[in-house]
């Protein structure tokens, strides 16, 4: 397996190259200034070594032009670094519209990964080659962090909220992922492999295994089991059709966009944001619904939107 000394992690995503280019630039600047300082110190130490006990040095107060020079040069360089690093970061944090969505739940000390089509994995993540993939992540307990070195992506996975990362794999094969945020005893075992497959193989893989329900399908069952239907299906509560990604008006007059975080909050803390025109009668489902079920319900509500668009004229 191991040949020679590895210097660079594999570049296996569209993001990796850009990050590496900035990394090389920073390394070059670092090496240059480190060399300048080391060589100057060595040179001065030898050139001006004390030759006699009573030797006197030439006293120099300072030099304004030099001070300006060595303030302005670092300033210019850091501005370049800042602009480069920031623009790349902004680009890297926006997932493309058409991303395949996969859900990630971290818990002490394992990763559970769910594909909307229904397949579930533990500490293993199958993804298609050359297609953008967006991970929507949350934690059941403490803060974890999902880190794929070969893709140069990393994000904390925080209980009580959803965080996202995205990537587009450029190589087939198997790549490590790690929990990068210390999360207790077996933190270092909370890791696994991303398996990048050709799209055809991926589709085959998706439909294989134990034929499970799709996440939206599981959500539909929960919709009935938790009796959401008694209000949201009868007009007592806001209807779900076409709800996702729409803008709703709240009783406070505020307008919010319905996204994962909003839906999650409305299920767990219904009184936090009330849609205008509806009474605040919904009970909380906090403690009764797992993170996994929440994601399934959200997938279901999302799916109602697409269905509607397809069937309506």
């Amino acid at each position: 397996m191991f040949q020679g000394l590895p210097i660079r992690p594999e570049q296996a995503s569209t993001i990796a190259k850009g990050v590496d280019h900035l990394y090389y630039f920073l390394t070059a600047v670092d090496l240059f200034f480190t060399a300048v300082i080391f060589l100057t110190i060595f040179y001065f130490a030898i050139r001006y070594r004390r030759r006699s006990k009573d030797e006197k040095a030439t006293q120099i107060e300072g030099s304004l032009p030099l001070e300006i020079a060595w303030s302005v040069v670092p300033l210019v360089l850091t501005v370049v670094m800042f602009l480069w690093g920031s623009s790349l970061y902004i680009r890297n944090s926006r997932p493309p519209e058409a991303s395949t969505e996969i859900f990630v739940i971290g818990k002490q000390w394992m990763w559970q990964l769910q594909h909307p089509e229904g397949r579930r994995e533990i500490n293993e993540l199958h993804v298609p080659l050359g297609r953008p993939v967006k991970l929507t992540m949350t934690s059941e307990d403490v803060i974890h962090d999902f880190f794929i070195p070969s893709f140069r992506v990393k994000k904390d996975v925080v209980p009580g909220r959803y965080s996202t990362i995205w990537f587009e794999a450029t190589k087939t094969g198997s790549f490590h992922f790690f929990c990068a945020q210390y999360c207790g005893t077996n933190h270092s075992l909370m890791r696994g492999e991303v398996i990048v497959m050709k799209p055809d193989d991926y589709e085959r893989w998706l439909s294989g295994g134990v034929q499970a329900q799709t996440m939206a399908g599981a959500g539909a069952a929960l919709y009935e089991r938790f009796a959401c239907i008694t209000c949201h299906g009868t007009g007592k509560g806001p209807p779900f059709v076409n709800l996702y990604a729409s803008t709703v008006k709240l009783s406070t007059g505020e307008a919010v966009v319905v996204d994962d975080a909003y839906l999650r909050e409305s299920i767990l803390y219904p009184s936090a944001k009330i849609v205008a025109g509806y009474p605040p009668i919904m009970p909380t489902f906090k403690g009764q619904i797992t993170e996994e079920e929440l994601l399934e319900l959200i997938s279901y509500i999302k799916s109602l939107k697409t269905e509607e668009r397809q069937t309506a004229k």
Binding site: M1, T34, I41, E61, V142, P159, R161
Partner: protein, 544 residues
């Protein structure tokens, strides 16, 4: 070696070490010099406790599966290493030992402004230290030195309370010491010692004290909130209780980032003293170095968010914190260039303190420059929470701050003890530490870039080579730290008598005998020249 003829001189004169004897005379002393030595002894113990933890960790990391420890034990070791080194060694190191000893002497005063408060701060510090030692020996704590929530408040079953309480208590010692320094520097400077005649060590200690007084209360409050949530389930940080775990990180880093500068600024002050003395030159660009200390102290309060680029804080917050973090590079660069320029046309000697000072400049430069990778958003995403970060901050805190501390100890040791240490051994140790340090931490930059996360007792096979290299370097570094311990203790009894000013240094502390009398100066000195006036004649002319 000491000549017999010189021996009586040191023993007959009354000075702060022999003015009285017995344990009581030390435990109830209000002499800043004795309190400095109390701190020196205590933090040396804490340093070797924290160091022992590091040795075990490096040993364990030789094997990908862990050579000898269970993950649980390893987690306790890195937590203990961090807590001990940060809160009980680095933060008090230069301020409480060298600062305590030197601030009154450098301003030409008999003691600090509040001598009793000074003694109290040592007791407070020791109480905090005892809580910490209790936490360690009663079974340990595995929260990391960062105490991230909700892990620390809800999920861990170890001695989080005792550890947090220890840090909380020790914080008050910092506040009291900082307060004492600020008042002393403002009110007790000798006649003629204007602000811009002060040695740069005082500027650095002054900037550090401001951070201590303003920053420490925030970490104290944060730890109280952790304790409240842990003990009484008051929901502050745990989302299950309605809290916000990210809030903890904001509060924690609001202190703990400036704390990095509490650790490095005093070392920068020490280096300014060493470079000038061993180049026999006035400092290059005095006011630029002085103001860059203050600038670093101010900016340090505005950059905490760079610890949270991947935590989920907004992209805009990330941009602002990234820009401010880059801003720190400029005053840091100004310092490095000015120190280097100070050697130009100097009369450079290779005494041990100078070797430490040159080592400091090199390693601090590398530590500072690698910080740019972490201030830059796109690269930080990859490097955050990997060994790259570990390497970076060890270059700053060990390569920088500890080198400065050891350089300072070696520089002022003849003043503190009245004796010289064996110069050859001291230079040898400085070299061993420099080499051992680089062998330990340089491979960690590469490990981090390859993607090895920090706090991993068990890791994939491909990281092994670099981990073994790092562990090998650590064994050299460990030996390097033990050598000075031996010869410094030896020199207290057997070292040659140093005399008042063995280095031919400027500064008021060198104008009084070594060891100094309890009241420091027979008469209050008057200052008639700038700091580092190495071009002027000998300084006896303007004493008294």
């Amino acid at each position: 070696m000491a000549t017999a003829a010189l021996e009586p001189e040191i023993d007959t004169r009354v000075h702060y070490l022999n003015v009285n004897y017995g344990i009581r005379s030390w435990l109830l002393t209000t002499d800043h010099k004795r309190i400095a030595l109390l701190y020196l002894a205590s933090i040396t113990v804490f340093f070797f406790v924290g160091g022992a933890a590091a040795v075990l960790m490096r040993l364990n990391l030789i094997e990908p599966q862990g050579l000898l420890l269970q993950p649980e034990t390893y987690n306790k070791l890195f937590s203990m290493h961090g807590i001990m080194m940060v809160f009980f060694f680095m933060i008090p190191s230069i301020p409480a030992v060298l600062g305590n000893f030197l601030v009154p002497m450098m301003v030409g005063a008999r003691d600090l402004a509040f001598p009793k408060l000074n003694l109290l701060s040592w007791y407070v510090f020791m109480l905090g230290g005892l809580f910490e030692l209790y936490a360690i020996f009663a079974g340990g704590v595995d929260s990391g030195w960062t105490f991230y929530t909700p892990l620390s408040t809800t999920y861990l079953n170890t001695h989080v309370m005792a550890a947090a309480l220890g840090v909380f208590i020790a914080g008050f010692a910092s506040i009291l010491t900082g307060l004492n320094f600020i008042v002393t520097i403002h009110k007790m400077r000798a006649p003629g010692l204007t602000w811009f005649r002060m040695p740069l060590f005082l500027w650095a200690i002054y900037a550090t004290s401001i951070i201590m007084v303003l920053g420490t209360p925030v970490v104290a409050i944060t730890l109280v909130l952790v304790a409240l949530e842990r003990a009484f389930h008051v929901g502050v940080f745990d989302p299950a209780l309605g809290g916000d775990p990210i809030l903890f990180q904001h509060l924690f880093w609001f202190y703990s980032h400036p704390a990095v500068y509490i650790m490095i600024l005093p070392s920068m002050g020490v280096v300014s003293e060493l470079i000038t003395c061993f180049s026999r030159k006035r400092i290059f660009g005095y006011s630029f170095i002085a103001f860059s200390s203050v600038a670093i102290a101010v900016i340090s309060f505005l950059v905490w968010g760079h610890h949270m680029f991947v935590s989920g804080q907004s992209v805009y917050a990330g941009l602002v914190f990234s820009a401010l973090s880059f801003a720190v590079a400029i005053p840091s660069a100004i310092k490095v260039f000015n120190w280097t320029a100070t050697m130009y046309k100097g009369s450079v000697s290779y005494d041990a303190p100078m070797l430490y000072a040159m080592g400091f400049i090199g390693l601090f430069t590398m530590g500072g420059l690698t910080g740019l990778f972490l201030a830059s958003l796109a690269t930080d995403v990859h490097l955050h929470d990997t060994y790259f970060v570990i390497a970076h901050f060890h270059y700053i805190m060990v390569g920088g701050a500890v080198m400065g501390y050891l350089g300072g100890i070696h520089f002022w040791w003849p003043k503190i003890s009245g004796r010289l240490y064996p110069d050859g051994w001291a230079r040898f140790a400085a070299l061993v530490i420099f080499i051992g340090f680089n062998l330990t931490f340089f491979p960690q930059f590469m490990l981090g870039y390859l993607g090895m996360p920090r706090r991993y007792p068990i890791y994939p096979q491909e990281f092994q080579v670099m981990n073994v290299m790092s562990s090998a370097g650590a064994s050299i570094l460990g030996v390097g730290y033990l050598i000075p311990l031996v010869y410094l203790i030896w020199s207290m009894r057997y070292g040659p008598v140093a005399g008042p000013n063995p280095w031919g240094a400027k500064g008021l502390e060198w104008q009084t005998p070594s060891p100094p009398p309890t009241e420091n100066f027979e008469r209050t000195p008057t200052v008639t020249e700038e700091a580092y006036a190495y071009g002027n004649a000998a300084q006896e002319a303007h004493v008294g």
